[in-house]
């Protein structure tokens, strides 16, 4: 089966088993390894991508259901010269540790700040619930996110 989808604004064609999870299409077929496959059960959030603008766990999405969809991944969010607001806050506050959960967290929280530009701490924590981090204990990440509340959120 052949599926056509747009990945980071570029048309890509996938031929193969339509049940293949999107995360495997990205990582194994397109060799875009920024999206991380960690739990493969939809719990950890490390594989979050945007599908037609909505953050979704790519491990739970069979590629066959995505014909014609627009997928944005961590590779398409920003350039090395211009991080988005969430990435910049994480770097400025030096909150990254092993880094495996951060691509997914950036995807979730970048979208969240488009829908809520001035959330309070509890709202940020609630939005983070689907993104598990084993290293940091979260609070410094929340501190970083609190710092961008009034800024213009970038996609």
């Amino acid at each position: 089966m052949t599926i056509t989808l747009t990945v980071n604004r570029e048309e890509r064609i996938f031929s193969g088993d339509p049940r293949t999870p999107l995360v495997d299409v990205l990582r194994d077929h397109l060799r875009m390894t920024g999206t991380k496959a960690v739990c493969r059960e939809g719990f950890c959030g490390a594989c979050m991508v945007h599908v037609d603008g909505a953050p979704m766990a790519s491990c739970l999405l069979p590629v066959g259901s995505l014909d014609g969809a627009a997928v944005n991944t961590i590779e398409g969010v920003a350039t090395r010269e211009h991080l988005n607001a969430v990435q910049q806050a994480f770097e400025d506050h030096d909150v990254v540790q092993c880094g495996m959960c951060f691509p997914g967290m950036v995807m979730t929280m970048s979208r969240f700040f488009q829908t809520n530009t001035s959330p309070d701490r509890d709202e940020i924590k609630a939005a983070m619930t689907g993104n598990i981090c084993r290293c940091t204990g979260y609070e410094r990440i929340i501190d970083a996110l609190m710092s961008i509340r009034t800024n213009e959120a970038t996609p």
């Binding site: 990582r27 194994d28 060799r31 875009m32 390894t33 920024g34 999206t35 991380k36 960690v38 739990c39 493969r40 059960e41 719990f43 950890c44 490390a46 991944t73 961590i74 590779e75 969010v77 920003a78 090395r80 991080l83 990435q87 994480f90 770097e91 030096d94 909150v95 990254v96 540790q97 092993c98 880094g99 495996m100 959960c101 951060f102 691509p103 950036v106 924590k125 609630a126 983070m128 619930t129 993104n131 598990i132 084993r134 290293c135 940091t136 204990g137 979260y138 609070e139 410094r140 990440i141 929340i142 501190d143």
Partner: protein, 788 residues
């Protein structure tokens, strides 16, 4: 040196953040592409069995198969202390998940299909699933041939299902317990296994290049991987090269060689680059967990709180092979035997074989549960003799010139002033809540403060510093960046301060055993201390060479020259000197490029002769102390515990990067909260873990946590560079203890087990919790030893 130390202190940001945030960092799991083939392991699905037949012939002819390996390919056994561990099961299966064969094929699907085509015939054997079963009289032996194994470290008692026994005996505990003026307090404690759940599972990519193995792996211990791979393959260590990309979390799990030899064998056999990655299910079900443990402590205490005698037995489940637990038996002397002055002490610390997946090292290994048991026991002592908990601790914590369990002499008063600092920290948030009080919302309030003793591992490290013509420096060590940031923060800061350059100008090379000298590995809080000390020594040599050349250029004695801001200046005359670049260029015409090497190992603190038997180290080189305080609320309807506030005073020696240490404290305490409240691996009747993934193994989430308040205690004695101690390992140390004690204080009930899940807390509140009984640990201490 003081100038140096001040120059090294800064909130230098980590340089790997940007690529990690962009998804560009390549971890071992991200290495792939068309040249890489994929391997899987055929693993046992029973806990204990005789192998009657293993036939891989049909699998060899399956599509895409490039190589298959079994026990015939790996003749050697490895282990810590005892070589008890073959990498493939041969005649006997000893745990659920034990590898039987390894298969490499063009695709992962083909490798799995070939694994299914392997014929395996088994005859079931009885399985020992608990330590109580293992210690029963006439219990079947997990290793019937234990006497025949190679001993790699002499001096321990072993026997039957006791893989290793380390004992401490200082003073006359019998006399202490017989004293008429003492109260005897006897307590038992039990904890389950904790799974590390690193987001990058154990993974390896192996190649066979120019007659040598090249192993790229997600590890904390490149030199252990080199050694173990060579040992099990029965080849010289020099034929193995290990390199380490960014590691996606370790927490101790990757302190052992694990998947690497399988991939190495398959790479050599196939002539291809082989990737072997644990699936999440495999990673979870063969996790080298923090071991389950069972502990009995008996203390003889006078009315004014003097501990005149203490006897304890700690049973540590090592699973089917000894592994790290063999070494960790050593640590009980310093974790359970730590914190308090003891008039006399006897400790038995035993690693017990069971037919369960082997355990390993996990952040503050052994210390976390011994601190829980010790601090619960301490509160039980206070209740028994009617003394305030803090007053008891103030009187008894170890201080300057006090002796530890094995007779080592401690230097400096550390714990007592740290308790003062904690009380000052708490006083910033006064509240009148009392233990057991109902809050406005009906929940029950609890609070506790505990102390903990840990130590920094030292051991061999090597470093080379090359000073480059552009004035930058390249630091070459066997350090790896596992996420904790030591390679990103402390090491460039130390080198920069040593050479008077900016930390941005320090290039830090990650581990390559072909490039850097031997190292014990990244763990035990040792990176900043051991690799840092070797790096500082390398900088000293570079500095001497640099100043010798500059001395001639500037016509000034070397001791009148200072290095700062990338320049060599004449002391007291800023702008008088020249740039490091010019000195390096001059050196190249005279002597050649400037580089220096440095080394570090254990400085060797003495214990009291004859106190310790079966210990890998008898005394601790760098003790580290921690004081924790926790306030929590228990929902009496659900048993749910919410942490209201958590405070830490941590002994760090010197804080080089305050912000980085903050990150370690926040992350470590939260891992401890998971351990205390909901993370638990349970083992079912088949001998396999019930928690096979994220759904069943509950990790802390953003909404579970609070910001940790902390105060860094600086200035305690340390042989670490610039007075540092490792800061990443320790934050988890007394979290289980503090939460356990706070829940005991809130409920007024006996808390003897972790984790304190909602059902367990409800059972406590409702009085349905049966008192813990550990009948297999005798009240007669000597019955719990092989030397009796």
């Amino acid at each position: 040196m003081q100038d140096n130390a001040d120059a090294a202190v800064m909130n230098f940001p980590r340089r790997d953040a940007r690529d990690k945030l962009l998804g560009r960092t390549k971890y071992t799991i991200d290495v792939g592409g068309s040249e890489v083939i994929h391997a899987v392991l055929l693993r046992a699905e029973v806990a204990s069995a005789q192998v009657l037949r293993l036939d891989v012939e049909a699998a060899r002819s399956m599509p895409g198969v490039r190589a298959i390996a079994t026990w015939e390919d790996a003749p050697g056994a490895h282990g810590i202390g005892i070589a008890d561990h073959p990498i493939f099961a041969r005649d006997v299966i000893r745990y659920h998940g034990e590898p039987i064969a390894a298969i490499a094929a063009d695709t992962l699907e083909q490798a799995h299909a070939a694994a299914r085509a392997i014929t395996l015939e088994l005859a079931p054997l009885p399985a020992i699933l608990t330590m109580a079963q293992a210690l029963e009289k006439d219990a079947p032996l997990v290793h019937p041939d234990w006497k025949d194994y190679d001993i790699l470290f002499e001096g321990a008692a072993r026997g039957g299902n006791v893989a290793w026994e380390a004992t401490v005996a200082r003073g006359d505990t019998d006399a202490a317990f017989d004293r008429p003026d003492v109260t005897i307090i006897d307590g038992v404690y039990r904890v389950g296994r904790q799974s590390h759940v690193p987001f990058e599972p154990r993974a390896v990519v192996a190649a066979f290049e120019d007659g040598r193995h090249h192993i790229q792996t997600s590890t904390q211990v490149p030199w252990t991987v080199r050694h173990v791979t060579a040992r099990v393959l029965n080849i010289p260590e020099s034929q193995v090269r290990v390199t380490v990309p960014a590691v996606g979390g370790g927490f101790g799990l990757k302190f052992d060689c694990s998947l690497e030899p399988y991939a190495a064998i398959l790479a050599k056999k196939s002539g291809r680059v082989v990737s072997l990655v644990n699936s999440r299910r495999e990673e979870q079900m063969t996790c080298l967990c923090r071991e389950n443990a069972e502990i009995r402590i008996r203390s003889a205490v006078t009315a004014d709180g003097e501990i005149v005698g203490r006897e304890a037995t700690v049973l540590m489940d090592c699973g089917a092979y000894g592994g790290e637990q063999v070494f960790l038996t050593t640590m009980t002397a310093h974790t359970l035997g730590g914190n308090y002055r003891l008039g006399s002490v006897r400790l038995s610390s035993r690693a017990i074989y069971t037919n369960t997946p082997p355990n390993g090292a996990f952040r503050a290994c052994n210390g976390v549960y011994n601190t829980f048991a010790l601090e619960r026991h301490t509160d039980e002592i206070c209740d028994a003799i009617g003394m305030d908990r803090m007053e008891f601790r103030r009187r008894n914590v170890v201080g300057d010139q006090d002796i530890g369990a094995t007779g080592q002499v401690f230097e400096g008063d550390v714990l007592r002033p740290m308790i003062d600092r904690m009380q000052a920290l708490c006083a910033k948030h006064p509240n009148s809540r009392k233990n057991g009080q109902r809050l406005d919302d009906g929940r029950i309030y609890g609070r506790a403060m505990t102390v903990g003793t840990w130590f920094i591992f030292v051991g061999p490290s090597a470093a080379t510093v090359n000073l480059n013509v552009d004035g930058s420096a390249t630091l070459v060590t066997s350090g790896v960046e596992i996420g904790s940031g030591s390679m990103m923060h402390a090491l460039p800061q130390i080198v920069a301060a040593g050479l008077g350059i900016a930390p941005e100008q320090v290039i830090v090379k990650t581990a390559d055993t072909d490039a850097a000298g031997r190292d014990l590995g990244v763990g035990g809080g040792r990176t900043t201390v051991s690799i840092g000390a070797a790096s500082a020594a390398a900088c000293d040599e570079v500095r001497d060479k640099l100043l010798a050349v500059a001395s001639e250029m500037l016509q000034t004695a070397p001791d009148q020259l200072v290095l700062a801001d990338g320049r060599v200046e004449i002391r007291g005359r800023p702008g008088s000197g020249t740039t490091i670049q010019k000195v390096v260029a001059e050196a190249e015409t005279r002597t050649g490029p400037i580089s220096g090497s440095g080394a570090f190992t254990a400085p060797g603190i003495e214990a009291m002769p004859g106190c310790a038997a079966g210990h890998f180290i008898d005394a601790i080189d760098i003790p580290v102390f921690a004081v924790h305080d926790c306030e929590l609320a228990i929902d009496p309807d659900t048993g749910q515990v919410e942490i209201l506030a958590y405070r830490v005073v941590q002994d760090v020696g010197r804080a080089l990067n305050h912000r980085a240490i903050h990150g370690q404290i926040q992350g470590g305490v939260v891992q401890g909260m998971g351990y205390a409240l909901h993370e638990e691996i349970t083992i079912n009747e088949q001998g396999c873990f019930d928690q096979t993934g994220f759904e069943a193994y509950r990790l802390p989430l953003a909404q579970d946590v609070v910001p940790i308040e902390f105060d860094l205690f600086e200035g305690a004695p340390s042989c670490g560079p610039l007075g540092t101690k490792g800061a990443g390992e320790v934050p988890i140390l007394n979290v289980g203890a503090t939460i356990g004690c706070a829940i005991a204080n809130a409920t007024g009930k006996q808390v003897s087990q972790l984790p304190l899940t909602p059902p367990r807390v409800l059972a406590l509140l409702d009085g349905r919790d049966e008192p813990l009984a550990l009948d297999h640990i005798s009240a007669v201490w000597s019955d719990n030893t092989l030397r009796r």
